[in-house]
Amino acid sequence: MINGANSLVNPGNAWVKLKQGITGIFFKGSESMIKFFSSVKLAVVLIASLIIASIFATLYPKVNVFSSFWFRGLLLLFTLNLAVCTFKRLPAVWHKIFRKGELTPFILANSEYIKIEDSSNCAEKLLEHFKGKGYRIQTKEENGQLFIQAEKGFLNLIAPHLLHFALIVVLIGAFLGSFGTKGEVRGYVGQTVPVSNEPAMTVKINDFETLYDEDGAIDNWVSHLTLYVNNEEVKTGTTRVNHPFKYKGTVFYQSSYGYTHVVELVGEYNDTFALPDQKVFKIGDIPFNINQVRDGALLKIFRGHEIVDSILLAPGDKFTFPNGTTLTYLELIPFTILSVKKDPGTPVVMLGFVLVTIASTLFWTGRYQEIKVILDSGENALYYRVNCKNKTAVAEISNEVIKKVKGE
């Protein structure tokens, strides 16, 4: 009753306690979550799992791994891991790169030590040396001590964080890709055909051609198209291997092609036929096919698997088979097959790729180096420390500092 009365009299206290309790739990929870997701151990475990899964998937291609729920879950965890790692370290890196204002005096425990004679002359030489080498310099004088901090190689410092960020962008783009659609366009030259994944679109296939290089080898296949949206013409152009046709995020790729030869037969059959390219037919007991080559339609007559005769046909040309049947070549109708993709994630992935490339090149810029110096005019001593992940660089920089200080 008394407790209850207290609560009634002082509701604020209970609320504050409850709030603190919840915040505490949440804070502790989120803190441990952040710790968990930012650990290198988790990264290694996730990468190892992705490696094992990928190996399995390539060895057993019939098992659906890459689009499975658990593989995508792994990728999600990997993205979270990357994100937490990157954003957790961001403030410290940011501070290191953009720190301004006065230098805060520091302590150099167990640092290197050199005895000097003239501290002001020594400071001048050192600062000049650091400036000449392109270091960013910050100084602070306090109680007869001059603190110098010289740094360079910031681009290299950014590299791993930018790479992590870029990978997150790629993974987000890939996720957005799951909202995309894929389809197909197939049709003969002259036809207007639907786009299977874009109901409002139709494509008129104006032409299809095979391009040859100067040595006579196939250089490319080109489809000439006109795109209609709701029956309104919006774009005319071409699609060829390595150069797709694009319209507002919908991309048309040259995927496949073929030919149909229209012929008229008089004799054994009396009709007009559309013969698929290279497909073998028989007139009497004589097998033949028509194959579109660079110079035109090539009629091949077989005996078993052996070619016994081949004739290049132009429209209007005739060929008479031994049983008296006459084939008249009427026309060639090429057809083309295009794969169509609409992927809202692709621009994001491409942006990620640009960032990945930039980050990768930043790894080759000079390593981040930090030199901390305390010049003690009272003790006539110089304390210094070089921080750099490259051991050889540390030794070289230390030697340079010693040389400068000793006036060599």
Binding site: S54, V241, S255, T346, T361, F363, K389
Partner: protein, 274 residues
């Protein structure tokens, strides 16, 4: 000029085999003069490999980066070049005992491949090809040398732990140098591998209509990238150096070789031409 390729490859192979033989001799009875001759012959082998690539460039009227044979030749060339650089900078001719068998094996295999000149298929006629394959050559070359140095590290470490003064202990440089060089090569190679993956993906988007298809070659290149990424992370963040790093470098190169040769023969996919 096409018929020149195989005889020239045999001479090149002979150079590498001779250099290797001489290095074995130097290993058993160290003679500076013989070591220098071995170095010279190896250099000649490298010169001939370069000549072979030059001939191929003229034959195909473009950079020789378009099929397994050409990539293999570039790979052998890159391994040889990086070995020469390391040898001259760190006086590490002993590494030849491990690098040369790799190059010899590679060359011997390449001799068995068809080296006739064929027209390039339309999908490969793209400026992306050069950067995609060239970055792979550099990365693979760096990883090959990192692998060799890792093996040397493990050998030296084993000798040290046994406490006996053997020929190996004498022939091999310090553990620190081996570990540091092996790591630096991974550090140089990984960004190239990254750019190789990215340029391949961008090219695939233009050519195949998908930046990533989980094609076996793609997937194994990604596996390789993952392994070397783990190498750098555990080195920087957990402090894995020496033995553990050496094992990872060996594992990474195993993935490189499987991507290059294993996938080509065992796991057909979109990359069927390489």
């Amino acid at each position: 000029m096409e018929s020149l390729q195989t005889p020239l490859m045999l001479v090149t192979l002979l150079c590498y085999v001779s250099a290797f033989g001489l290095l074995i001799y130097v290993f058993y009875s160290p003679r500076e003069k013989v070591r220098k001759i071995a170095r010279g012959i190896n250099l000649l082998g490298f010169g001939l490999t370069t000549l072979l690539l030059g001939i191929r460039t003229v034959l195909i009227a473009g950079l020789p980066l378009t099929n397994t044979y050409e990539f293999g030749l570039c790979f052998a060339w890159a391994i040889s070049l990086i070995f020469i650089i390391i040898d001259y900078r760190h006086n590490l001719t002993a590494a030849g005992l491990f690098v040369l068998p790799l190059i010899i094996g590679l060359m011997a295999w390449l001799i068995t491949l068809d080296n006739s000149v064929r027209p390039l298929m339309p999908a490969l006629r793209s400026p992306w090809l050069v950067i995609h394959v060239l970055t792979a050559v550099i990365a693979y070359g760096a990883f090959a040398l990192s692998f060799v140095l890792a093996i040397m590290y493990l050998l030296k470490e084993k000798q040290n732990s046994m406490g006996t003064e053997s020929k190996w202990a004498r022939a091999l440089p310090s553990l620190d140098l081996l570990d540091d060089l092996s790591y630096k090569l991974v550090f140089v190679g990984l960004p190239f591998l990254t750019i190789m993956l990215v340029t391949g993906a961008v090219w695939a988007e233009y050519s195949w209509g998908s930046y990533w298809s989980w094609d076996p070659k793609e997937t194994w290149a990604l596996i390789t990238w993952f392994i070397y990424s783990v190498y750098l992370h555990v080195r920087f963040m957990v402090g894995w150096k020496g033995k553990k790093a050496a094992y990872l470098s060996i594992l990474g190169f195993g993935a490189v070789m499987f991507t290059f040769i294993g996938v080509t023969y065992l796991l057909p996919g979109l990359h069927s031409y390489v």
